[in-house]
């Protein structure tokens, strides 16, 4: 596992962004956070061609979409756009709702996991395992 993996965190809920960022930073990761699809993609693309691109993304499902309007499933669109830029990017989806169809959609689009907020357990272990199993990392 790379000691300083860089993670993109996109969520429109400031408290979740803050606490998640803190947890990840304490675990030794470098974290950049964004609050919607547009800024998330922009942040990702800005560092993609640099010496320190992102190694992973954690995306909320329901947040403002690329038009800026709140949309159920906006994160799935961002997931696809990120994977267009980097097809082997490990992505974990986060949602406040347990919607089986959304989880299936996320996995089908290439997400490595789908977690229901509040029910996620051992998130750090999961991140570690997924990063370890991604060859380019």
């Amino acid at each position: 596992m790379p000691a300083k993996a860089k993670i993109l965190l996109v969520d429109d809920e400031p408290l979740i962004r803050r606490s998640m960022q803190k947890t990840l930073v304490r675990a030794g990761y470098t974290v950049e956070a964004a609050e919607d699809c547009t800024s998330g993609l922009k942040t990702f693309e800005a560092s993609h061609t640099t010496a320190a691109p992102f190694n992973m993304a954690l995306l909320d499902i329901n947040m403002p979409n690329f038009d800026g309007t709140e949309a159920s499933g906006a994160g799935l669109e961002l997931l696809s756009r990120l994977l267009q830029v980097r097809p082997d990017l490990p992505v974990i989806m986060l949602s406040a709702y347990d919607e089986v169809n959304k989880s299936k959609d996320a996995i089908a689009r290439g997400a490595r996991n789908y977690c229901v907020k509040g029910r996620e357990q051992n998130l750090l272990t999961m991140i570690e395992e997924i990063l370890a199993s991604t060859p380019s990392n």
Binding site: Y97, D98, V100, S103, K104, I107, Y114, R119
Partner: protein, 700 residues
């Protein structure tokens, strides 16, 4: 050469003979115009007279009007509306006025004769009264070009013929009158039947939006009217607003919100304002009629008020393309129909008001219930959130005082974690039942089994009995499993050693009965009444008390019922009724793969799959393991298999590169489990099929 006397006798015989023929010929003619025309023709041709004409008295009795006249002269005089004053100077005037025959043998010398330019050759004229009993109905004129053409005997002969003619005229008039009566009676019967039809067809409709359009259509069909429309008075009481109109004219007027002022000069305005029926028989001449460009062909219109008690609800307009289309009888029958309609409208309006009041009551009750639940919820969440804030404050103080005790810090974090977990649990319980409700046919025993599996009920604790003839139920299986899981968890938390589930057709038709009995602690009598309410729990502050609330909500959403009985210290029984599913239709399994491996316990569902596939000529095998997976076209794996661990099966399939042939079937879907199975490479994770159609879809 015959003697004058013999000649006279011969002439008389001819006249009598002719008179008899006239009488016989005309007696059977029932059409009065035809009768009169034939009479004058026969008199002139048979008797060889120059002219004959029949005058009949008009309704006033003052004029004798020419109704039939021989030849061109007759036609010309009828066309000119030739009439003579009864009792006047003319011979007809005298005959009708004095009710006696008149003769002018040389009319040039007779003062009473009016020189008629149409009959210049007349030299003798006879005018004979036509009378029935004491009543004079007209007169017959017979004219000759010979001077002194008529004798006293001729008068007598022709008078007797005239008397018979008068009777024939009277008969034909009576016949026409009878026909008119008959026609009217028939029309009235038809109208009454139509009114009755409208009443019958509209009485049972309680939705105004359906009642009014149907009524105008039924009225136009039943009575053959050009147009019918219903106006209802609006809330202000000032306007009668068109609410339904027949045909395209009606649609056009509805589109522009056609309305008329109550008490205004329109017929509807007058009918609603004065609460009485209005008729305009030729609307072109009727002042109160509003000339409507949408109804250019209307010639008669009737406006009938819609009245219940003393209240005018509106008015009906009926319109005909015929002039004088309505009579007094029509008003009575149509008003009867309008009265029925008014009652139907009133009923519909009352029902609407009742529904509105009911909804209002429901809203109030819902609000009260929500307020009560919200108060409970706020209280509960407040209690759970308080430790978080106080603990955090304490931790901050300790940090700033630099008095950090590791054990105390760990304890504080546990406090926060536990409180947060409880709040998250509330979200889980509240969100579940709020889901979209997708009922389908389901094996209730299989769903209960899956629920017990997920709730962690050991196989040694559970006994599940399903009566062999139990039909499928209609339920959202994910939700039903959630409801059962809540009951299983409660039983486990009440320290039950045995949980018995028995499933059988209910004694109440259309339901399956489920009894879930445990031998746990039972429900304390002090909270038994409140057991379904939210945030009520017997298990102390570490529980949300939402499990039974969610279960009740789910069972109610399925149109089922749930009741509970409990003996403290002995156990609890939940009795649940779930609606039976409609009979499943046949499925086409010809396109499913020919070899299917089912990895499951030997249970009801595995048997259903095996029987369904083999009856479709497919090969299926049921196993507890992946044995036979290589040769199978498709593999179905029951998520809740107990004989072998699911993860072991999935790992084995993945290792053998066969996971993509596998579909995991689940009675209840769950995000984390679905994600895990997909990560292990299975083709799909789907709801467990319980009918042949669903099975065909899963295997397609």
């Amino acid at each position: 050469m015959p003697t004058p006397k013999a000649a006279s006798a011969e002439r008389r015989a001819t006249l009598l003979h002719a008179a008899a023929r006239v009488a016989k010929g005309v007696a059977s003619i029932l059409d009065p115009d035809e009768l009169l025309r034939r009479t004058v023709d026969v008199i002139c041709t048979e008797f060889g007279f120059y002219y004959a004409g029949v005058f009949l008295l008009d309704q006033t009795g003052r004029w004798a009007t020419l109704r039939a006249g021989y030849g061109e002269a007759g036609a010309a005089m009828i066309a000119a509306g030739h009439k003579l004053v009864v009792g006047g100077n003319s011979m007809i005037g005298a005959a009708t006025g004095r009710r006696e025959a008149r003769i002018a043998l040389d009319v040039g010398e007779e003062a009473v004769f009016f020189r008629n330019p149409h009959l210049p050759q007349t030299r003798s004229e006879m005018a004979l009264p036509l009378s029935v009993g004491d009543e004079v109905i007209g007169a017959l004129t017979v004219q000759s070009i010979e001077e002194a053409a008529f004798t006293q005997e001729d008068i007598e002969t022709l008078q007797s013929m005239a008397d018979q003619l008068a009777i024939a005229i009277q008969n034909s008039r009576l016949h026409r009158q009878n026909q008119e009566f008959f026609r009217q009676a028939e029309r009235r019967a038809r109208l009454l039947e139509a009114a009755n039809n409208v009443g019958k067809k509209t009485a049972s409709i309680l939705d105004l939006e359906e009642l009014l359009p149907k009524t105008v259509d039924i009225m136009c069909e039943a009575y053959g009217f050009y147009y019918a429309g219903v106006f209802l008075i609006d809330k202000s009481g000032k306007w009668a607003v068109l609410r339904a109109g027949h045909g395209t004219a009606g649609q056009a007027m509805l589109a522009v919100s056609h309305k008329l002022e109550v008490g205004g000069s329109s017929m509807i305005g007058a009918a609603t304002g004065m609460c009485e029926a209005r008729i305009a028989l030729d609307v072109g001449e009727e002042k109160v009629h509003f000339k409507n460009p949408h109804l250019p062909h209307t010639r008669s219109e009737m406006a009938l008020p819609l009245v219940v008690g003393n209240k005018v609800l509106g008015a009906v307009t009926v319109q005909s393309v015929e002039e004088r289309a309505f009579n007094a009888d029509d008003i009575i029958t149509l008003q009867t129909m309008a009265d029925h309609l008014a009652i139907a409208i009133n009923n519909a309006q009352l029902l609407k008001e009742l529904e509105k009041a009911n909804q209002e009551l429901l809203r109030t009750k819902t609000y009260e219930a929500l307020t009560a639940a919200t108060t409970q919820a706020i209280h509960w969440i407040g209690n759970k959130a308080l430790p978080i804030t106080t603990t955090i404050a304490r931790m901050k103080d300790e940090l700033s005082d630099e008095k950090i005790d590791r054990d105390s810090l760990k304890d504080d974090l546990d406090l926060i974690s536990e409180s947060a977990h409880l709040i998250v649990q509330v979200k889980e319980n509240l969100l579940g039942p709020a889901r979209e409700h997708k009922p389908r046919s389901a094996m209730v025993g299989d769903v209960a089994q899956a629920a017990a599996f997920h709730a962690g009920v050991a196989t040694s604790v559970l006994s599940l009995t399903v009566a062999p003839n139990t039909p499928l139920v209609l339920a959202d299986t994910t939700q039903l499993a959630r409801a059962f899981s809540n009951l299983f968890r409660n039983a486990l938390e009440a320290k039950a050693n045995k949980i018995a589930v028995t499933i059988a057709p209910s004694s109440e038709a259309g339901y399956v009965a489920v009894a879930l009995t445990d031998d746990g602690a039972g429900i304390p009598s002090e909270i038994f009444e409140k057991v379904w309410a939210a945030f009520i729990t017997t298990k102390g502050p570490s529980h949300s008390g939402l499990g039974l609330t969610a279960t009740l909500h789910i069972i109610t959403q399925l149109d089922g019922r749930i009741t509970v009985t409990s003996q403290p210290g002995q156990g609890t029984t939940f009795n649940i009724l779930i609606p039976v599913s409609p009979e499943a239709s046949a499925a086409d399994l010809s396109h499913v793969p020919s070899t299917v491996l089912v990895i499951d316990d030997d249970d009801e569902w595995a048997r259903f799959v095996s029987v369904t596939l083999s009856s479709a000529g497919k090969f299926s095998a049921s196993r507890h393991s992946v044995e036979g997976a290589t040769t199978a076209d498709r593999i179905l794996i029951d998520e809740t298999i107990t004989a072998t661990k699911l993860t072991e099966i999935l790992s084995a399939l993945k290792g053998a590169g066969m996971a993509q042939k596998a579909v995991v079937v689940a009675a209840a879907m769950n995000v984390e489990r679905t994600t895990t199975y997909l990560q292990m490479g299975v083709k799909d994770v789907v709801l467990k099929p319980y009918t042949a159609i669903e099975l065909a879809a899963v295997l397609a």
